[in-house]
Symmetry: C2
């Protein structure tokens, strides 16, 4: 598929646009330090994030109804603490609320803002994330992400890789699936988007999971575009 | 109600942020000229817009399911032409599509972009409009409106003044109704928002309906704030 017909780029956000691991480690470290708890914050960030897919799977499978990611993040935080033998009841509710919303305060990868600004001249740029609107809105304010609109998961009420998450985004934008291109650092996300007829662009984020990352180091299919970062993607797409 | 607790401003868009009448008249004039049709484009803009509330009312009443405003605008355009004795079948479908989307290409009132930019420093700024996401997105690109997010009617699937349109917006933003302030040039919109517990700010737009406008020239209740335009509102709110 050529990208000539593409009118909008939908971006995976966690890992592709923002560096969730550093942001969560930084905010967790401050929390643990304040409470005199000795835990490697990088490891805790990984443990918290590891509960992400199982939490969403319960919604995708219909075991529970649609729940916003802000709420899932809070549940996941409590579970991650408990797995470390830490009783969440020892903390103030407001403190836990604040830490649970750390995902709203993640920094962009160094190339992301410039890349989005350049891509936006030619394409509509929107997040295509499992994040909810308020989460993505505050993240955009924090990190300066110049989205054209914030299509949080409330719009489709579906979590990727459910087809509705991809097809519903094209529908809301008023374009055909092949006029929408998913930009992601994750091969499985792109495979699901391609299965729905979307165009696909792979961006390498070799340290999303830290220095020993072993997945998503290279494209696993012939995606419609590949690039080392978002500025490079803008250059490849002539922006 | 003081505005101290307000965290987000939700803006009525048509009339409050953008000058729909000039934009629709300009684009209709070009269309009519091209086809050699002698119709006062300002009057046609009023006639087209006059079909707005009846069209939405059919959705609000449940007579038909939720329909995006882009689609309603197209139906309203065909009806407005037919009322003038003009058979829409004489035009290309693509031409009618383009004119029906004229609402995506409206200019902001002269104070709107600066006002939003200043207000955005202190508040989250979002549209609280009956427009759909794609409509509001392309309007924002055209007019340079610096929204934090675009909460089109797809998010609440309700049309103002239905309570869900106001309360659903607060819910999606993760704030209480009184932390959300509707900014509007229309007393009836503000009255409905106040009825839902929202804060209210009135902005005067004395020529929204042209030089002979008789409604909404002044606040009809003691709204929480009033201003002559959005820059003045920013000043009053200390932005």
């Amino acid at each position: 598929m050529a990208l000539d017909q593409v009118k909008a780029l939908g971006f995976d956000v966690f890992g592709t646009v923002v560096d969730w691991r550093s942001g969560i480690a930084r905010q967790s470290a401050a929390f643990f330090e304040q409470h005199g708890i000795a835990i490697d914050p990088w490891q805790f960030a990984d443990e918290w994030r590891a509960l992400y897919q199982p939490a969403m799977e319960r919604c995708r499978s219909g075991e529970r109804p649609y729940v916003r990611l802000d709420a899932l993040h809070r549940e996941m935080l409590l579970a991650a603490l408990q797995r470390r033998g830490i009783d969440p009841a020892r903390f103030d509710r407001a403190e836990l609320d604040r830490l649970s919303l750390a995902w709203r305060q993640l920094d962009a990868w160094p190339d992301a803002v410039e890349g989005l600004q350049r891509l936006r001249k030619r394409f509509v740029v929107v997040p295509m994330s499992n994040g909810n609107i308020a989460l993505l809105l505050h993240m955009a304010r924090h990190a300066g992400l110049p989205w054209d609109a914030i299509l949080g998961s409330e719009v489709t009420r579906a979590y990727k890789p459910e087809p509705t998450a991809y097809l519903g985004t094209a529908d809301v934008l008023g374009i055909a699936p092949d006029q929408l291109c998913l930009v992601a650092a994750h091969n499985d996300d792109l495979a699901a988007a391609r299965g729905c007829g979307l165009a696909t662009a792979f961006v390498t984020r070799p340290t999303e999971h830290g220095p020993t990352q072993r997945i998503d180091l290279a494209p696993e299919q012939a995606w419609d575009a590949t690039a080392g970062n978002l500025v490079e993607l803008a250059e490849r797409l002539g922006c």
